[in-house]
Amino acid sequence: MKISSIGFSLLLLASESVISSKGTAADHIDYNRQIRPLISNRCLACHGPDEGERKAGLRLDTFEGATKDLEGTHAIVPGKSDQSEILTRLLSQDPEERMPPPKKGKPLEPEQIELIRRWIDQGGKFDRHWSYIAPVKAPVPSVKDGKWPINEIDSFLLSRIEKEDLHPSPEADRRTLARRLSLDLTGLPPSWEAVLAFEKDTRPDAYERYVAQLLAQPAFGEYWGQAWLDLARYADSSGYPSDQPREIWGYRDWVISALNHNLPFDQFTIDQIAGDLIPNPSQDQVIATAFHRNTMTQNEGGTSDEEFRIAAVIDRVNTSMSVWMGTTMSCAQCHTHKSDPLTQIEYFSLFDIFNQSADADRKDETPVLSFYTTEQKKERDLLSREISEIEKRLSDPNPAWKDGAHAWAERMSKAPSWQSPAPDRIDTKFEPGKAVPDGDGFFRIDKSVQFATYTVELPLPSGPISGLRVETRPVEGFGNFVLSSIQAEILPPSGKADAKPQSVSFVSAKADYEQAGFPADSLLKSGKEKTGWAVAGATDRPHELILALKGSPSATEGSRLRVVLEQKSTYANHLIGSFRLSVSTSRDLSDWIALPPSISTILKKPSDKRSTDEQHLIVDYYVRHIAPETRPDRQLLAAKTAAHDAIRPSSVPVMKELPAAERRETRVQIRGNWQNLGDVAHAGTPAAFPPLPKGSHPDRLGFARWLVSRENPLTARVTVNRFWESLFGVGIVSTSEEFGSQGEPPFHPELLDWLAVDFMEHGWDVKRLLTQLVSTRAYRQVSRVSPELMERDPENRLLARGPRFRPQGELLRDQALDVAGILSLKMGGPSVRPMAPNLGLSTAFGRSNDWVVSPGEDRHRRSVYTEVRRNSPYPSFTTFDAPNREVCTIRRNRTNTPLQAFVTLNDPVFVESSQALSRRIVAKADAPNPETKIRFIYHTALSRDPDKKELDTLIRLHAEALSEFRRDAAAAESMATNPLGPADKGADLADLAAWTAVANVVMNLDEFLMRR
């Protein structure tokens, strides 16, 4: 409704103030302001650029068309309204003749027809639509009150205010401004100390200093980033019914960082549209291209990837043109635009530019970029340095460390010894009695056994047992096997009934042969990594598997080892056909198993046959793996290496251009149907705008440069207008999403152009622009309004008073947390999940809409880090008009509803904030009584002192609440602690509960939700 109502309020202003249509005949008629809207809205659907819809061959949006000879008549004869057919038709009473035809709309008002008559008599000149003409700086107007303007912007504003016979409002006090500036620039309220410091600062540039200090805070990028993310349709899920999680927060962090570093807006643009195509792009520039990977991905079964890839490309065209040029392209997607000079073929020329990226509606979101964050990079670098220092010590060791090497090598040169006691029990499970002796202590399994787990019990020698060996022989009828797990335990001698079996675990495993994907050491792992040991490829040979026991457990006389060999398979006879189990008591068995082949080969040679190099290799191996002296270094190295490898990169979907050979051909989609194709469209930009900059190619990079070229008439205007809207509530063009002929003309056209040119002349410097805007006298005015001014200028377009409007829901939550003292200032990283209601619903074919709240400070992060799920957006933000980020949203609505009252009164997030603020004030020693506590709340929440009436009201409320909570201890406890958590031992819960109620009131004040 805002969109339409703004249009009407302008008309209201227009008819009552200077841009009056009731001028005298001598007044010059401005085609763009006065005539174009009439023709555009009432005539162009049938007499516009769209040839398909054009009636009677008449085109009224160009001079040539309007003055064309149509069977002897001319719609417009310049300078001669009496000969212009258009007037005859507009004035006709005959329904057959009258225009617009009765079916299409009401007749024009007499004043409107009069305007057209005078315009024709003045020559009937057609200007191009204002926004298609490049802006130029008009001279700054002179004003009567020369002392009022602080900068040029004020002069433009004041000159208009003076023309309206109005007066600007006085400047607000420092405290009000401190809060207004802080909320507007950082999205957070100022601390009371900062308010007082600003108030006391008598330096002439105190204001500029305060602004600069706010712009330098990291919170600046978080706040303005949030706004940009609406345009970027940023979300942490892929959209459509399944709404899969999507890892793309790297882009969000890039936006915040780019704003904080004040990346010039032209570069900010180029990086996002085409960072990947810049020669030698930085990692950041590639991450920036995720701007256009925020399109949705359709993963529902049975859908066409191509259909949804095309939907994503269309979204990229429409979003690019909306965000940078305030131009609606979606009309031209199906037919040539009815009111703006954009043809359908031109639409698909833009489409062709975006149709060449490699992404294709894939579930895995490829192409993606893996990256380490700055902190991760720092940490990895530090660990790498530490690792290389240890490496250095180990490769140039202290000579004493080598002392034991010789003796160790001697021991290792002998293979460990094994004993193969005859098992006293073999059980193949399900198939008992099917194992028979096979010679050499081997046992053969009967072929009738198709699936089995073998359980074997072996008598043990006494002493420490260091290893277990499984030997297999090929047997006719059996082929490959998978030893999926092996477990062992030492059974105490049968006489000792009270002794328990001692379970045994393995620390290393080695086999003479392993099938790819089924390595011996997988037996030591768990879960999916536990594939088991298998031998496909060498089933016709004997094999051996050696396992080292952890801690070499001791066996006593008469104890036995029970071994369970599990062989899971869906195939019959996938079993070990013949096997022998052995145990070892050799001390160095695990060292021996761990030997890499290169070392064990050397060790097999007699010591005098080893070359010098080979001897060095052995000593080096000994120092790095065995020497007791190096144990601390070895452990440190292992830990640092593990820590280094544990730092996993994050990923972000990015834009990537297809190679030339795979370039897609683009055809016009007839009536927007992707399967009904027409003519081929070649990459290019619409003819109504200046051509691509010299030296640019018609690709994304060329398009990006075209967007921010000095010749582009729209980008700078659209951009400054959006910043204006953020600070003043309504844009100079109120339809900030539409600058075409269907949008509202600028309220202050010269000011808009001056700002746009100034912005470009100063290097697209965003912080400079914001400083300029908030430094104006207009911005500093009090927001108080008289009923007369309210009626005259309800939307505050004239800015004869300070701006005042409700901020977004995200800011309201951040503000509450901050005032409560529980806001986390941690920046960046994966999105977080603050408290949210459990609604017990699932997304269709997808996950539950409910989530587990993030632990620790993550539940109190700034709202920009809250996980955005397109199918179940964060409920309280939605209630305050946040979009669900399915498509680009240029401008949010700003409603005022009882459901919003429910959020700030009852949402546990806001209740928790009231509780935390209550604890802050109850604990305050320098605020001993209710009055001082209320002062503290006002200072913190509203940046001002309460007046007497406010104090009285809240002191009374506190007393009433306190007496209620004194009577009801259970209610007091809930009110004080749910959901914040238990209070300190001995805390007065009734008092905490009463102050929670008071804090809840302050955090619902109009002034808290709106700012003064």
């Binding site: 009401k106 049975g302 269709a844």
Partner: protein, 491 residues
């Protein structure tokens, strides 16, 4: 209900109340522009202008409306129309034969490839009511309302996946971002309830529809028109309950304090937005009792609960049907129920068209029949439009994946489906449109989803081509660039 002392001068208070009357869900943050805003709101169409700037104030439709409100019952997943309403004896005769190539040419299916086998319905069919409407034994309670409904057997859509089909059905466009039907209705007509949302949504069976919240979203029109999800269990409206430990009495006291402080702010700064906020907090306070009140079905007589099969304290489609009646009775404009679990592929016993369908209908046809009877008895059916249907139909052949299973199921089918309406100006005991003998194509009087939307808007008193909203330079409407009113089904 609201007797606390007002700190405002009585005259001023009265003026304030008048200006914010019925602002259930708001006004824009800007301010009330009175008749101008309203005129703008309805894009200069012939809508009557109320004296208030409240976007939810009740408004006259473009012409005399037959229906004042809508209860839309959506069976999310697409009910098997061939086993419920569209009887095809020839399909039964040829059951088990391969589909003729002619009917498969040019068609793609979600989960079926190759040549599937025709499948006649395993259900038994008979004609019911004076109009002789064909219905199967799966929905015995529907037989009893055969004289009240207008059955359309020639529905069709362009989408064969759930989400796009539901979006098309409820927003007129197969992708997200457009306002939903209920939003359009509330935008056009406002709300008749002072203390309740104009557009209420309730979900049963634990899962939201495939189209997601966009099915009741407001797209680019103000969020004041979006559907408010209400629950029969827990907080009926999100965050409506006071925090634990805050009594209603204390809430009143805190609101009194807030009222005083905000009034001071209003007199100091003079922003109408502040006046609106004061009124919204008072409305919120009233809603804290009105919403739980209307949502509390335990107040209903036992006989009514039994009729619907509703159980107080539970969450079910039956409860939601009863709540729908209670809500429209209180002036809610558009009530939309979504029930999950209608995707009868036959991939599990619950999604089979024999026992699975019997079980699903047993839980749902009784409350629907009770709702129709209840509305009729209260004299509400004449101006309440009830719609029952899904987002598309199901194939006349057996779903490809389950050919070897015991369970019978059907794949998605956009070309034909059935849907019925009752009350609100449609013919009763009437059947409209037909499919060919095997049920592959519409043979008579096709109705696509845009036609359905145009017809619903027509019944509400709107020309679907004139109920428009301008966004980003383009005029949008529910029916996009399509739709025609099906006059044959209207009284």
């Amino acid at each position: 209900m609201d007797k606390h002392p007002s700190p405002l001068h009585p005259k001023r208070e009265a003026a304030l109340r008048a200006s914010t009357r019925r602002q259930f869900l708001s006004t824009t943050g800007q301010l009330s522009l009175g008749a101008i805003a309203l005129e703008a709101l309805t894009s200069g169409s012939a809508l009557g202008a109320a004296a208030s700037g409240d976007p939810l104030a009740p408004r006259r439709s473009q012409y005399r409306a037959k229906a004042k409100r809508v209860i839309y019952l959506h069976m999310s997943g697409a009910p098997p129309h061939l086993d419920l309403f569209d009887y095809k004896p020839a399909l039964v005769k040829h059951s088990g034969e391969e589909c003729p190539p002619s009917v498969l040419a040019g068609r793609t299916f979600a989960f079926t490839t190759g040549v599937p086998k025709l499948m006649g319905t395993p259900r038994s069919f008979a004609q019911y009511g004076k109009g002789g409407l064909w219905m199967s034994d799966a929905a015995p309670n529907f037989h009893t309302i055969a004289d009240d409904i207008c059955l359309i057997r020639s529905m069709n859509t362009s989408q064969f996946n759930h989400a796009p089909a539901e979006l098309l059905l409820f927003t007129g466009f197969e992708r997200q971002g457009r306002p939903s039907m209920g939003s359009w209705a509330t935008y056009g007509l406002g709300s008749e309830s002072e203390n309740l949302p104009g557009f209420v949504v309730m979900i049963s069976s634990g899962t939201q529809p495939s189209g997601g919240q966009s099915c009741w979203g407001s797209g680019f029109i103000p969020s004041v028109y979006q559907g408010v999800q209400c629950r029969s269990k827990g907080d009926p409206v999100l965050f409506a309950s006071n925090p634990p430990g805050m009594s209603r009495d204390l809430r009143r006291k805190t609101l009194d304090a807030l009222h005083e402080l905000n009034s001071e702010q209003l007199s100091e700064l003079n922003h109408p937005e502040t006046a609106t906020r004061i009124a919204q907090y008072e409305l919120a306070y009233r809603m804290q009792t009105s919403v739980p009140g209307v949502m509390d079905i335990s107040q209903e007589p036992q006989r009514v609960l039994e009729d619907y099969g509703a159980v107080p304290g539970g969450a079910s489609f039956a409860n939601n049907c009863l709540l729908a009646r209670r809500l429209v009775e209180q002036g809610v404009r558009f009530v939309q129920l979504f029930d999950w679990g209608w995707d009868f592929h036959g991939t599990s016993p619950g999604s089979g068209i024999t026992d699975g369908l019997t079980a699903k209908m047993a839980a749902t046809d009784k409350p629907v029949a009770a709702l129709i009877r209840d509305l009729k008895q209260r004299g509400l059916l004449d101006d309440t439009l009830v719609v029952w249907g899904g987002e598309f139909g199901r194939t006349p052949f057996r779903e490809g994946r389950t050919a070897g299973s015991q369970v019978l199921g059907r794949d998605h089918y956009p070309d034909c489906f059935s849907l019925w309406m009752a009350g609100g100006g449609v013919k009763a005991g009437f059947s409209y449109g037909a499919t060919d003998e095997l049920g592959f194509s519409i043979s008579e009087n096709p109705v696509d989803v845009h036609d359905l939307q145009a017809t619903i808007l027509h019944l509400l008193g709107f020309d679907h081509e004139k109920l428009i909203y301008r966004f980003q330079g383009r005029d949008y409407r529910l029916t996009d660039i399509h739709g025609r009113v099906i006059h044959d089904v209207l009284i």
